[in-house]
Structure formats: structure tokens, C-alpha cells
Amino acid sequence: MAITAFGAGGGPAAAVDAAPKRRSWVALFLLLPGILYLVLFFIVPLVSLIITSLETQSPDGAFAYGFQWQNYVDSVGTFGTQIWRSFFFAILATVIALLFSYPLAYFIGVKARRWPLLQSFMLILVVAPFFISFLLRTLAWKTILSDDGPVVSALKGLSLLGPQAHITGEPIAVVFGLTYNFIPFMCLPIYTTLERLDIRYLEASSDLYAGGWATFRKVTIPLSLPGIVSGTLLTFIPAAGDYVNASQDFLGGTSSTMIGNVIQSNFLVQENYPVAAALSIVLMFVILVVVSVYVKRSGTDDLL
């Protein structure tokens, strides 16, 4: 169920070429409602976001249609730090989540094969965080990492943390929260590819005198690349736009505001729609560029 569903995210579109030619009006009937829905509530909103981002503000505060390209220059100029920080945090969280998840996925997908029951049990534990409220689990970490929580007092007891130091409200807590919350998204696709990995390739590699490390680098990693690519994308994209972890009521502070927080407060609190819209378009554009370059370079074009 959910387990296979998430793993299927990057699955190659098999059997598409084998699709038989049939009367296309049936296809039209099947496609039309969903496609109309996507156009009406995905494409049109993006267009209206672009229109909003170019609006001008008259002295009395009302917004009017215009071609105010200056909105982009102003927003990026004002919030450049937050834009950089978002991508920096997202990349950091993605890398840490990958390093954390790969050995776990390898154990479940390859080593635990002989015990199917253990394998299912471990998989259920990996997806378990999905099923407890995203906001409550983040708040749980806030309490655990708070100044009078067990982690800070232990670190202070060991003198690893200064007496005035905090974890919550600092960038480290935000990166920690982003990493924790998206680990299942990283782990599942990697597991799916490793689970299908043919052990005989590893045997062939060691028959050809490759050591453990060389086999891992030259055989295991390349064969699990599709899983790594979809896992990193499923982590990076939501992490870059997240504003819950960095929110000051959750794990963030004044020095860890991300672009999502800026968009949210400009849209919903200050009602400064053009700035929020311009920043959304910038965020979307940068993510699309990063994703397409990344997918091209890793040679997994068939991800769609």
C-alpha cells in the first residue's frame, strides 16, 4: 500500500510502448475531467500567480494590473538571504537524510531479504512517522531539544555545549527538523531499487576481484541510482519550500527564516501579494532548474 505507492514515485513507465492502439475517444473521455481539473486548478493558478507578481500598488494601497518587473528585483534584493538559506538548508538536509537512509535501506532491502517478516516490520517502522501528525512530531522535537530538555542538559553536562547555548531557534534545529521529517521520503525509493537488486551482480563483482568498497561504489550505487535520485528530489523539493520547521513557534528563530516563511507572512499576514507571488515564482523557477539539471546529469531521464 503506501509503501509501494511511494516507491513507485520514480518507477519507469514500463509497458507504455506496448499500449495497443485503440479508439481515442475513450481515452479522451478518461482524460478530459482530470486534465481539465489540473488545468483549472494548477495551470491557471500559476498564471494568476505570475499576473499577481507583476501588479503595481497605487498610493491608496490597492493593487492593479501592470508589468512591474521591479517587484522581482525588489523581492530578491530584500529577501536574498532567506532564498540562499532555504536552498542551503534543503541541500544540507537532503545530504544528511541520504547518508542516514542509505545504510538503513540497504539493510532492509538486501540483508533482510532472508527474513520477509523482519523486512515488512522494518518497512512499517520507516513509514510510521508519516502517520503521526507532521506538526505534532515537529513540536515533540521542539520539546525534546528545548533548553530544559534532555538533549541540551546532557550536552551541557558533558560540556559539549556552552551554558548559554540553545538548540531550538538555531539553524541546526531547523536542518535537523527538515532532515527528520523527510527521511521516509528518502528511504522508501532507495529501498525499492535495492530490493530489486540482483545479488548475482555483487557476486560477479567480487569474482572479478573487486573489494567490498569497490563493489559498493561501482555496482551497488549505480544500480540504486534511480532510487537515490527520486529520494533526493522527494526530500529536496518539500524541504526548500517548507515553513513549518523554520517557523518561530516550531524549531526556528529569527536567524533561520526560510523563503516559505517570507511567502507565508507576506501573503497571509501583511497581504503584500505581489512580493509573495514574485518569491513563489522565483522559488518554483529555481527548483525546476535545479531538478532538471540534476535529473539530466544523473542520467535518469525516464523518471517522468
Binding site: 500559476l46 527528520y180 528530489l233
Partner: protein, 292 residues
């Protein structure tokens, strides 16, 4: 046969283990225990906030916030709706989850069948249109919809939340059902047609039952995505409170233990569904293997 060839053959066929050849077990040079121990610790780490949330659903909370442990009680579980806002928000979330799951599952399944079974022009454009919402950050989708509702003069409420949830669930339904449909043997449908089944009979009696596990998985996934969504919802909810927006708004002044009760109950039900479906899948697999 040259001496070299003999050596190679000798190596392959010799029963004696070769010292230079790494033994099969220790192939991956992390020590034998390192990986299992790491995996166990990693899973334990993933469970920390879950255990915390469940434990604090039993806390005899004294003030507004449920942070310090002050004794065990069952009162939060027996009196979930003592905190009326929590219960109301939970009900709203269930309603929104059900409606948007049904809508997204129907629309998405239709698209998935069309993608796997039919040829049509602009196929790659359609695939792109389905992929894009999954590659769009939630803030952008939320802000876009909110901007559209604003310019169209549509008031925010349950309706706008359902529209938004159906949208982001749709792509996940297509991907999930498509994976299932692509793995089906087209010969089964052909056999149905050969036996003079009408197109609607073939669909009703063959295609749909075979797709059902995929459709069910997609519906469960949709519901859990909808139930837990905060970012897109917050942009389009107006004054309506779902369970996640309730928690977000209450985070500042303290969250009642009843919220933990609801989250824990939902968690336990979801885990039960996953476990049961795993057992069903595995026993079906066993039966299939036995037949073969």
C-alpha cells in the same frame, strides 16, 4: 590449454575457498554487526517523536501546555471532546479527507487507465502536467490557488480546501494506479474480449477487480496526505480549522493533550491498516507461490 587458462578454470571450479576471494558474507565490508545495529538505532530514532506524542496523550496536564509530565491519566482519552475545538477540527479534517480522496481517486484512476491502455496525441504533455504538481513546492501551490480564489472572488472555506486537496492528491493517485495497471497482463483483457465480453463487461469484471489493490492503495495514500496537509490548507482555509491548522494556531499558547489523543488514535489505526494489508499481500503471495 595454456597454463594461464588452467589457472583461471582451476580457480573457478576448485572447491577450496580462495584466500584472495572475499567470502560472500563479508562482501560489503561494514562489519557483520555494524549494519544491523545501525539499522535498529536508526529506526529507534525515527520512533522518538511518535513515542513522545503517544506518552503525552496520557499526561494529566495541569496548565494550558502539555509539555511537563505531571502524572498518568486516561481522562484525555475518555474525554477527547472536552476540548471542543480539537474535536471539531478533527471532524472537518475527516470530511475534507473523504471528499477529496473520492474525487482524486476517480479522476486519477481514469487518467492512469488512459495512460497505460490508450495511445493519444500530446502524451508527454499529459505526463508533464501530472508530474509538475509533485515537483511544485507546497507554498507555491497554496499561494497560487489562494491568488486565484482571491482574484475570482471565491470566499475561502471547506470548498476551497477540498479543491486544493483533490489537486495535490490527484498526481499521487495517477502514479500509484499507473504502476499497478502497467504490471497487469493485457492478455487477461484480451481473453475477456475473445469470450465475447462487451467493453463494459471486460472493464467491470476484469480490469477493475485487477486494479482494485492499486486503487485502494491510492485512496489510502490520498486520505493520509489530505489529513496531514498543513501548508496548502493554511493558504486556502480562511476561518475553517482542520486538525493541522488547529495545531499550528494553538502551538503558541499550548496544545491540549486531547490533540495527542487524536493523533495517537489516527496513528494506531493507520498502522493497523498497514499491518493487515501486508499480511494479506504476503499470504496471497504464498498462495500464488504454492499454485506455481
Amino acid at each position: 590449454m595454456s597454463a594461464q587458462e588452467g589457472l583461471v578454470l582451476g580457480k573457478i571450479y576448485s572447491a577450496e575457498p580462495d584466500a584472495r576471494r572475499t567470502p560472500p558474507r563479508g562482501r560489503f565490508s561494514l562489519g557483520k554487526w555494524l549494519l544491523p545495529v545501525y539499522s535498529a538505532l536508526a529506526l529507534a530514532f525515527l520512533l522518538i517523536p511518535i513515542v513522545y506524542t503517544i506518552v503525552f496523550s496520557f499526561n494529566a496536564q495541569t496548565g494550558k501546555s502539555n509539555i511537563a509530565w505531571s502524572g498518568f491519566t486516561l481522562a484525555n482519552w475518555s474525554g477527547v471532546c472536552a476540548e471542543q475545538d480539537v474535536c471539531a477540527a478533527f471532524g472537518t479534517s475527516i470530511l475534507i479527507g473523504l471528499v477529496s480522496t473520492i474525487a482524486a481517486t476517480i479522476l486519477g484512476t481514469m487518467i492512469a487507465i488512459a495512460l497505460v491502455r490508450y495511445r493519444f496525441p500530446f502524451r508527454s504533455a499529459v505526463s508533464l502536467l501530472i508530474f509538475l504538481p509533485m515537483a511544485t513546492p507546497e507554498v507555491v501551490m497554496g499561494a497560487g490557488l489562494a491568488a486565484q480564489f482571491l482574484s475570482a472572488g471565491i470566499p475561502k472555506g471547506i470548498g476551497t480546501i477540498i479543491i486544493a486537496h483533490t489537486l495535490f492528491c490527484l498526481s499521487f493517485v495517477v502514479v500509484t494506479v499507473k504502476a499497478r495497471a502497467a504490471s497487469l497482463d493485457p492478455a487477461l483483457e484480451e481473453a475477456g474480449r475473445d469470450l465475447y465480453g462487451s467493453p463494459s463487461q471486460v472493464f467491470r469484471l476484469i480490469t477493475l477487480p485487477l486494479l482494485l489493490p492499486g486503487i485502494l492503495a491510492a485512496a489510502l495514500l490520498s486520505f493520509s496526505l489530505s489529513f496531514d496537509d498543513f501548508i496548502i490548507t493554511y493558504f486556502n482555509s480562511g476561518t475553517v480549522q482542520t486538525f493541522p491548522t488547529y495545531i499550528y494556531i494553538s502551538a503558541q499558547r499550548g496544545i491540549p493533550a486531547q490533540a495527542n489523543v487524536i493523533a495517537s488514535a489516527v496513528f494506531l489505526i493507520a498502522i493497523a491498516i498497514v499491518v493487515i494489508s501486508q499480511i494479506v499481500t504476503q499470504s496471497r503471495q504464498k498462495r500464488l507461490n504454492a499454485v506455481r
